[in-house]
């Protein structure tokens, strides 16, 4: 190839495949900037994630109980009082931070745990180390229950009314503030 024809080839102008990386980056950066500035200006409120399940009955996908693997977790057994259903896992770091708040909550409210995509042995070790606030623990090994509930990730919690309808979803760990400002009001309303 001579120098001339190389220069000829150079004038073919921009090609789409070479622009794509820039476009992809600008989209991501735009998203990040929008989120950052919205957070800075205070217009974006760390609100609850919407859930299509709100005011609908909680999906009843049977999962085995952690204790022996023989029984099945049925939320109907707990009907007649508000519940908190908490999806957690031993591999989930923020779940460790929830332990104190959940222990406090469990003094007055029935708390049901769902071990999400976790090995039962790991779940047991986790509960030994960080405490067990749960009245019953379901094992959702393959995540099928989580899928039915629309779980984004762990930890995630749901307040279920006395009649078995979903009242509130909270994604992320429950700390004292969330407990006082989000979870407890929902449970009070349910009573």
């Amino acid at each position: 190839m001579t120098e001339q024809s190389t220069n000829e080839a150079r004038r073919t102008g921009p090609k789409l495949s070479f622009i794509l990386p820039l476009i992809g980056f600008l989209i991501l950066a735009g998203f990040a900037a929008a989120a950052l500035f919205a957070t800075l200006s205070g217009s974006r409120n760390p609100a609850q994630l919407p859930s299509v399940l709100i005011s609908k009955p909680a999906p009843a996908t049977p999962v085995p109980l952690l204790d022996n693997g023989l029984g099945t977790l049925d939320l109907a057994d707990f009907a007649g009082e508000p519940l908190l259903v908490n999806f957690f896992a031993s591999w989930c770091a923020p779940c460790r931070a929830e332990a104190p708040a959940l222990a406090l909550l469990a003094e007055g409210v029935t708390v049901i745990g769902i071990a999400y995509k976790d090995k039962p042995a790991d779940t047991s070790a986790f509960l030994t180390q960080f405490g067990n606030p749960f009245s019953a623990i379901g094992v959702d090994r393959d995540g099928r229950l989580g899928f039915a509930w629309g779980v984004y990730g762990v930890p995630e919690s749901y307040v279920i009314g006395s009649d078995g309808t979903v009242l509130l979803r909270h994604a992320g760990p429950i700390d004292r503030r969330v407990l006082d400002e989000v979870v407890m009001p929902a449970i009070k309303d349910a009573r």
Binding site: P46, A93, P94, G153, G172
Partner: protein
């Protein structure tokens, strides 16, 4: 006084970095050699300024100068000297300064080492490195001044997070930073090459040592971090897929791809635009990793928002450091014409597969890391996708990569030979079958995943050995010793790194599938059986450390009644910081580690003990060490036998 000197040196470095960023580029544009040559002395002055500033900050930490605000908030007079020094980079401002130290030092090394380089390429590379340095010096001076004073000075400091008072963590950040920042050189070379509108085999040969060095440092840095997490966090795990770890894994994967693709540019003059893009993306990932996710710098999206000036500045730097080169790539990339083509059975094609898989793995990690962060930004919820996601996505990609890895090296440039391929394929299949049969025979109740893993590792090991045999056969020397000697050092480096992968996988598999674990509540005198050993809980005692007090459990590890070791896991209370840490007790052996952690408890209730036997776990880090060693061997080999670059410019 020393602090003011440091601050002044930092300002001097910033002003000089502006000079490095602008004047040499003007020189290139005007063809003015005098202006171009300014890049070298100006880079050296900039480097000197930063080094003086860093030395001043270390001095402030070592002498516990509590009139410096940073020292007060991150140090304490009762701390051992080594942790006073490492405390310098155990915080946002100091770690940023360390980052800059490495950034400018690499530029300074280039001024000395790149003598044979074309003047324009070298000048442009230095100028780009200067622009990056200027941006971060401005970030440091205007938003994160490490030398800010505190008046009146307090009597003592607030201490350093006790988890960070650890030799592994004293070394981990500097090593990792050398890797992250080493990629800035690949980046600067790529941008300079785009400005030249010319990437050739010589370019690849100049940039290659920087990529290899960065990759080795990243490998060691990640391994140190993983090792630290293993023995310090007390969870017995070695990789948690948390955002901080992923932030270092992504540049590693991209750099692994880059090492392979740049070798194609160096040997064949093709894959140019892809290599340039990869160099830009690898550094972008290390920027994103260091500054958005890393807890020392910006704890999470929360601290991003809590300090608006920093958040906006960082976003600005990222936009400018990633966006402009990508725009340049869109404009100039199409000009990078390839010098040839490649065949489906050739090393070029094998490396293309390698790059495709590594890029896919990087994207998978990127999504798994930023989906939760993105969700947090949008909704404020902090969740994690965790290992199930990565097991389902990352592991299969790596599995295919490992299978393909057996074949890559035996293929020759341009056109692979079938005898070599046949030898590798038959060896890999025989080794895999033998390993699977051995697994079935020796391990009762082995899982399907375990068999697949063993087979895959043997496949790769068999393939590498076959490649060794094949290459030694091909040399014209007679006798085993002479044949060994005929193999060039870079090839040994490649084998070493690939065998490192085998060793790493053995460790990961042994620990993942065959680990035993017991979590018990025990009282002194209790005996626990684990993996054929007896562990006797002898008792608990309180001990006094240099700046902490402990509660230490004494566990006697016996096999067949014979005392093997006393394990002493402890919980420490750091008195200055009022924080506790868990120190696991580990008996490391090549065949596997015994690992014990003391949980909470009291004399009445008993104490929670977590005991593990982890077969082959240390092979994980040994494998990483071999990989890094392989990188060093390859780099040394190329430095000793430099390719005659002048010849490359001649038409082939």
């Amino acid at each position: 006084m020393i602090a003011e000197l440091g601050h002044f040196a930092l300002i001097l470095a910033f002003v000089t970095s502006l000079l490095v960023s602008v004047v040499p580029l003007v020189g290139v544009a005007r063809g003015n050699a005098a202006l171009m040559q300014l890049a070298v002395p100006a880079t050296l002055v900039m480097t000197g300024g930063v080094l003086i500033a860093f030395a001043a900050l270390v001095w402030a930490f070592v002498t516990s100068d509590f009139s410096v605000a940073l020292v007060t908030s991150h140090s304490h007079s009762a701390k051992p000297l080594i942790y006073k020094i490492s405390g310098t980079w155990g915080n946002h401002e100091g770690s940023l300064l360390l980052w800059i130290v490495i950034l400018v030092s690499f530029a300074a090394i280039l001024t000395f080492s790149g003598r044979a380089m074309p003047m324009v390429l070298k000048t442009r590379t230095l100028a780009i490195q200067g622009i990056v340095s200027a941006a971060f010096l401005a970030f440091s001076l205007f938003t994160s001044n490490p030398f800010a004073r505190l008046s009146p000075a307090p009597l003592d400091g607030n201490g350093l997070n006790p988890v960070l008072q650890d030799p592994g963590l004293a070394l981990h950040p500097p090593t990792l930073y050398i890797g992250y920042v080493g990629l800035s050189m690949a980046f600067s070379f790529a941008v300079a090459g785009l400005l030249d509108g010319r990437i050739d085999r010589a370019w690849a040969i100049y940039v290659r040592p920087w990529i290899t060095a960065a990759w080795c440092a990243l490998t060691i840095g990640i391994a140190l971090g993983s090792w630290w997490a293993y023995y310090e966090l007390g969870w017995g795990g070695w990789w948690f897929w948390d955002p901080v770890e992923n932030a270092s894994l992504m540049p590693w994967l991209a750099t692994t791809a880059l090492i392979h693709s740049v070798s194609v540019v160096a040997a064949r003059g093709i894959f140019k635009s892809w290599t340039v893009l990869l160099a830009i993306l690898a550094f972008s990932l290390s920027l994103v990793g260091t500054f958005i996710v890393r807890s020392g710098l910006l704890t999470s999206v929360h601290s991003f928002a809590s300090d608006p000036a920093r958040g906006v500045f960082i976003l600005g730097i990222l936009l400018f450091a990633i966006g402009i080169p990508l725009a340049l790539f869109a404009w100039r990339g199409p000009q990078l014409t390839n010098d040839g083509d490649y065949q489906p059975v050739s090393r070029e094609f094998g490396l293309l597969v390698n790059n495709f898989l590594l890029t896919a793995a990087t994207i998978v990690v990127l999504i798994g890391t930023f989906y939760p962060l993105g969700l947090e930004m949008v909704s404020g919820a902090r969740i994690t996708v965790g290992p199930p996601y990565f097991d389902a996505t990352f592991n299969p990609i790596m599995g295919v990569l490992v299978l393909a890895m057996a074949f890559g090296p035996v293929m020759a440039w341009r056109r692979g030979t079938l005898p070599g391929l046949r030898l590798v394929a038959s060896s890999a299949i025989v080794a895999a079958l033998a390993a699977v049969l051995a697994g079935l025979a020796l391990v009762t109740g082995i899982s399907l995943a375990g068999l697949a893993g063993i087979g895959m590792i043997a496949w790769l090991g068999g393939g590498i050995l076959a490649d060794m045999v094949h290459r030694m056969r091909r040399t014209h020397h007679v006798g085993f010793g002479a044949r060994l000697g005929a193999i060039q050092l870079p090839v040994w480096g490649m084998w070493c790194a690939h065998l490192g992968m085998v060793v790493f996988l053995l460790g990961a598999l042994g620990n993942g599938l065959f680990a035993s674990e017991a979590v018990v509540r025990a009282k002194p005198g209790d005996v626990i059986d684990l993996a054929g050993n007896e562990i006797t809980f002898a008792g608990i005692e309180a001990r006094q450390g240099p700046n902490y007090v402990t509660s230490t459990a004494m566990l006697d590890l016996r096999r067949d009644g014979q005392l093997l070791a006393r394990l002493e896991p402890e919980n420490r209370l750091y008195t200055a910081e009022r924080q506790t840490t868990t120190e696991a007790a580990i008996r490391p052996r090549l065949s596997g580690d015994d690992y014990a952690v003391l949980g909470d408890g009291d004399a009445q209730m008993g104490y929670t003990l977590r005991l593990y036997h982890k077969p082959l776990v240390s092979w994980i880090w040994a494998g990483a060490g071999l990989m890094a060693l392989g990188g060093f061997l390859a780099a040394i080999g190329r430095a000793r036998r430099p390719q005659r670059i002048a010849e490359l410019d001649a038409p082939t």
